[in-house]
């Protein structure tokens, strides 16, 4: 993302103008937007014109609109952001107060104005505009009969394709059905890779599986590539990296990102960092349960004691439409920072973020043990449903 203009004060109103230049930026924008903000962007509007004679014509017009945001919709698969709202600026085609849905486009600037910018948002802008590009990684996590083809960027894990087939077992005297089904399965995974992985962007393809599936698959892949002369695969052969995982389910991506072979090759991606932080939290919980807290009430208590060393938070919490709730989280983040703690904001699209979200969304590692508070408070963040 490129930042063109920024005229704002922390904790007061202001606006920024930015140009998204890759799909991930849509995700950042999604995390910045809130109901009540005003957004100005170029968009296409279908306009009906009535001529003097009464004949009605309709044509599509590109125009720049400013809307007051009412509804935000993010499509993870296509990385599309649709923002619905009412028009708040005079326009030659659109009446004031008329509804319009802006679909933000790549490489077209937009301006976002808010009544209040908080620290978390400013961080987000900074993060989005960080020029240090981290390699995009594609990961194929598979086991016999199940494969997930994902794209891992610094703040998103997008599931591109899921291949699931039934593979008959080996039976006494007949393995042919097993072998045939396996071949078919490999073929569909190969097709998924060719179709969904853009090798221009992706710097590395991780092929992870338990057992020997990955070896078998990569043999198959390159045999077929030679046989069918698929240049795309042959040219990018060096990008493939075989790693161990315990299963073919999506959450096994966590193990893959922690694998030393992968971390060595990818440097420290945000995704891997998040996984590591969460792992540390769990380790602390095992060894010193009084130094690992989760749930907003508990964490706030710990914060009052100035005990928080690392705060893990899921970005989902900041997308809350409830202003009071959101500011509560922002306050927590600010105060932890003030006290010299580290704050890590997890992307809810990553597997680790998903897990943290399930774990009430807030967790913290403390500097010193604080007595267990769970007895005093019965309902801590866990909804009864």
């Amino acid at each position: 993302m490129k930042l063109l203009n920024k005229s704002l004060e922390r904790d007061s109103g202001g606006q920024v103008t930015m140009v998204p230049d890759e799909a991930e930026d849509m995700w950042h924008t999604y995390n910045l937007l809130q109901v009540g903000d005003s957004l100005q962007a170029s968009t296409i509007r279908k306009v009906q014109t009535e001529s003097a004679t009464g004949s009605v014509g309709s044509n599509r017009v590109r125009t720049t609109l400013t809307i007051s945001v009412e509804n935000i919709d993010f499509d993870t698969q296509a990385c599309l952001l649709r923002v619905k709202g009412t028009n708040i600026q005079e326009n030659e085609y659109v009446r004031m107060g008329a509804y319009h849905t802006i679909e933000l486009e790549l490489n077209r600037k937009f301006t976002l104005a808010k009544k209040q910018w908080d620290s978390v948002m400013l961080d987000r802008i900074e993060q989005a505009c960080d020029p240090a590009r981290i390699a995009d990684v594609a990961a194929v996590i598979m086991q016999e009969g199940l494969a997930h083809v994902c794209l891992v960027t610094s703040s998103m894990t997008v599931l591109r394709a899921k291949v699931e087939t039934n593979i008959p077992r080996k039976r006494k005297g007949s393995c042919s059905q097993h072998d045939k089904a396996l071949e078919k399965f490999y073929d569909s995974v190969m097709q998924a890779i060719i179709r969904h992985i853009n090798f221009d962007v992706v710097k590395c393809v991780l092929v992870a599986s338990p057992g020997f599936v990955r070896d078998q698959f990569s043999d198959y892949l390159f045999q077929q590539a030679v046989k069918l002369d698929i240049k795309l695969l042959l040219e990018n052969r060096s990008k493939f990296l075989l790693v161990h995982s315990s299963s073919g389910h999506k959450y096994a991506l966590k193990e893959v990102l922690l694998d030393p072979v992968v971390t060595g090759r990818l440097a420290d991606t945000k995704a891997a960092g998040e996984v590591k932080a969460l792992e540390e939290f769990y380790k602390m919980l095992q060894h010193e349960p009084d130094r690992a807290f989760y749930g907003i009430n508990h964490v706030e208590k710990a914060n009052e004691a100035l005990a928080i060393e690392t705060l893990l938070m899921c970005d989902e919490l900041f997308r809350s439409q409830d202003i009071a709730k959101r500011s509560r989280y922002v306050r927590l983040v600010d105060s932890v920072r003030e006290n010299g703690g580290i704050v890590r904001i997890f992307s809810s699209l990553h597997v680790s973020g998903e897990q943290l979200a399930q774990l009430s969304g807030v967790a913290s590692i403390l500097r010193f043990p604080v007595a267990d508070l769970s007895d005093q408070e019965e309902d801590s963040g866990s909804d009864s449903d």
Partner: protein, 669 residues
């Protein structure tokens, strides 16, 4: 096609073999050509059993029958000839054919025993085949009709087909020769009504008070329709009386020699052809892995042979003196534990193979080895009897100290894991040399200090289990594949109840119903199968895409429950990281493995008393007993532990290790 022919050929061979094994097969009693026997052997079998069980009923009928029939009119000489003929026929036929039938046959063949026998047997054959084709057309010639119909009726008692039931209704009138035209009409009406269903037919009978005379006849109909269920159960128990069926899983650390041990075992039992064994030896030598020759018996895919690692459960069967064993050879490698779980979920007893050689046992037994994990897994999956094969004893010179050391170490651990000491046996073996497998070893070093059982004796002495045959039908699918002919096949173990070919069954979670066209047990077609058996069902009426490994086939009237959220009581294993809410886990239940998350930690329970120690714990650590709530991504079919012990157990795995075992206590939604 060639495979098809192959299978048929095989079946024929096995039939012949069976003759040798049993020595005294049903065919011998009947003196029928093998072809006929092969065609009808199962009907005959049931028929025999049924005749045995239902004896009182049969007698009742027989008492009634002579009153309608008239052989007392015979002159004295003929009477004597008749009796001598009957005696001779009985020698051949045994008790399987009623006296009345024989009498009729003798009369129609004019006291020629040979001819009467021919008549009887050929009629029988024809009749069964006709009934098989659901030929509902009446066979209306009274004198031979009785002879013809007799086996038909017996048949219909066993096979639950409506068409056959109607035949039975008709055939009974065959005994009442003085039936009027009006009665015929009435019976026809009954017949059409009866085709609506078994119960319906008996209802129409009883609901029709005008039928005063057939009340006596109704009883056999009713009792036979009721008896249908009992017959299966009893017949099964009867059959088992000879050889009990037992599912055995072989577990242990990778490279402990599980496949080699069992491969050699099968070879010594004669289950593996010498020629094939020679071929394996040659090929494995060529591949530079001569020691893997025996493992190749069970490791059949190219991949497994090439790498020398079992990857999926290998399944085969063998027989001991008192048991028929379904053998499952589980993979030992850490990555294939999911496969091992599917195998172990279907087992009743287990053999734990440990490597006795220095360092190897320790590697398998210490943390990270599979010996512990496997033993815990099978225990949690309901296996209570265990034989420990201390393998590769030849490599430590059959040293008694080593054996004792291993059995002590393992004994302590197994006791903790919940095995009763009396249910665990230790046997020194050498898989590659084949020592102490099927015969007691003659090796000096071993004989000096060991005079216990060899492996096969131990397997033979496993206690057989009580199967929940009375419960509604449940089968967990472990494999789905296409076969020749219509429909497709599913393989799995019947967990409860029984199934007959022709049954409509329900598949959960897809919630589809389908028809069982055929049942295969150990590569032989059977008409029914009951709990504990590992069978292949041929099903039609449902798309193969909808059926996955892990589906449960169940009774339509008592379907299994489905849900995405449930509560369970779990025992936490030895884990590195604590369990919190939100932890993504892999749920292994029967043959299914489904990703899910831990939704809530409800409470920590006391290990033995089960009282609540702490509500809403922050996390669960190793060894704790807790109540948790689980959420799965997709719907799974589950049973409560209190309803179905076998079907209420599951495993939780995370990042390649088993973190907990549990039982389902409450189904949420």
């Amino acid at each position: 096609m060639s495979r098809h022919r192959n299978v048929r050929g095989l079946k024929y061979d096995e039939d012949l073999e069976d003759d040798d094994v049993y020595g005294h097969s049903v065919d011998d009693d009947y003196c029928i050509s093998p072809a006929t026997a092969a065609q009808f052997i199962y009907k005959r079998d049931d028929y025999n059993v049924r005749a045995f069980i239902e004896e009182p009923l049969e007698e009742g009928e027989e008492e009634e029958e002579p009153s309608h029939n008239n052989h007392p009119t015979l002159p004295g000489v003929d009477q004597a000839r008749l009796h001598s003929c009957l005696d001779r026929m009985r020698e051949v036929l045994g008790e399987s054919v009623s006296e009345q039938v024989m009498v009729d046959a003798v009369l129609s063949s004019q006291f020629d025993t040979q001819q009467a026998l021919d008549l009887l047997l050929s009629q029988e054959g024809k009749q069964t085949s006709k009934i098989k084709n659901k030929d509902a057309a009446p066979l209306w010639n009274p004198p031979i009709g009785k002879v013809k119909d007799q086996p038909g009726r017996v048949d219909c008692d066993i096979v639950p087909k409506v068409a056959k039931m109607t035949v039975s209704g008709k055939q009974i009138t065959g005994f009442n020769i003085p039936s009027t035209a009006a009665e015929n009409d009435r019976l026809r009406k009954n017949e059409t009504l009866g085709s609506a269903g078994l119960e319906a037919s008996s209802k129409t009978n009883s609901a029709n008070p005008a039928l005063d005379e057939p009340t006596a006849l109704q009883t056999p109909i009713k009792s036979s329709s009721k008896a249908k269920q009992q017959i299966d159960v009893k017949a099964e128990l009867e059959k088992r009386g000879g050889k009990q069926l037992l599912n055995l899983v072989v577990i242990g650390h990778v490279d402990a020699g599980k496949s080699t041990l069992m491969g050699h075992f099968l070879y010594l039992l004669g289950n593996v052809n010498k020629r094939i064994m020679h071929k394996y030896e040659q090929e494995s030598k060529k591949a530079g892995k001569a020691s893997f020759a025996f493992a190749w018996v069970l490791d059949e895919t190219g991949e497994e042979r090439e790498r020398g690692v079992t990857m999926d459960v290998g399944m085969t069967k063998f027989e001991t003196n008192t048991k028929v064993i379904t053998l499952m050879d589980a993979p030992g490698h850490k990555d294939f534990i999911p496969n091992m779980i599917t195998g172990a979920a279907q087992a009743d007893v287990a053999i734990l193979v440990v490597d006795a050689s220095r360092g190897e046992f320790e590697a398998g037994f210490e943390a990270g080895g599979q010996t512990r994990e496997h033993a815990l897994l099978v225990r949690s999956l309901g296996v209570t009897q265990l034989a420990v094969a201390v393998n590769k004893m030849d490599q430590v010179n059959w040293h008694p100290e080593r054996f004792k050391e291993i059995s002590n170490k393992l004994g302590q651990f197994l006791k903790q894991a919940g095995f009763k000491e009396s249910d665990v046996a230790y046997i020194p073996t050498a898989g590659l040399n084949g020592e102490n497998l099927t015969t007691r070893s003659q090796v000096h070093e071993l004989k000096a200090w060991y005079n216990g059982a060899c492996l096969i004796e131990q397997i033979d002495s496993f206690k057989s289990l009580q199967r929940p045959v009375e419960k509604p039908f449940r089968l967990s699918v472990s494999d789905v594949f296409k076969d020749q002919g219509s429909g497709f096949c599913v393989t799995g173990k019947i967990k409860a109840g029984y199934v007959q070919s022709g049954d409509r069954v329900l598949v959960m979670p897809p919630n589809e119903s389908c028809t069982v066209k055929g049942i295969t047990l150990h590569d032989e077609p059977v008409d029914w199968a009951a709990a504990g058996e590992h069978v292949t069902l041929t099903v039609t009426g449902v798309d193969i895409i909808k059926i996955n490994v892990g589906c449960i086939f169940c009774d339509q009237k008592a379907p299994i429950k489905t849900c995405t959220r449930f509560r369970a009581r779990v025992l936490i294993f030895n884990i590195d990281l604590p369990i919190t809410q939100g932890l993504p886990v892999l749920l292994h239940y029967q043959t299914v493995s489904e990703p899910g998350t831990i939704r809530r930690l409800v409470s920590v329970l006391h290990k033995s008393t089960g009282e609540v120690l702490k509500k809403k714990p922050k996390c669960l650590t190793k060894g704790q007993n807790a109540l948790i709530e689980l959420q799965t991504h997709r719907t799974v079919a589950l049973e409560l532990y209190k309803d179905f012990k076998e079907l209420g157990r599951f495993m939780l795995r995370y990042a390649g290790s088993t973190i907990a075992a549990g039982v389902v206590t409450e189904i949420k939604e």
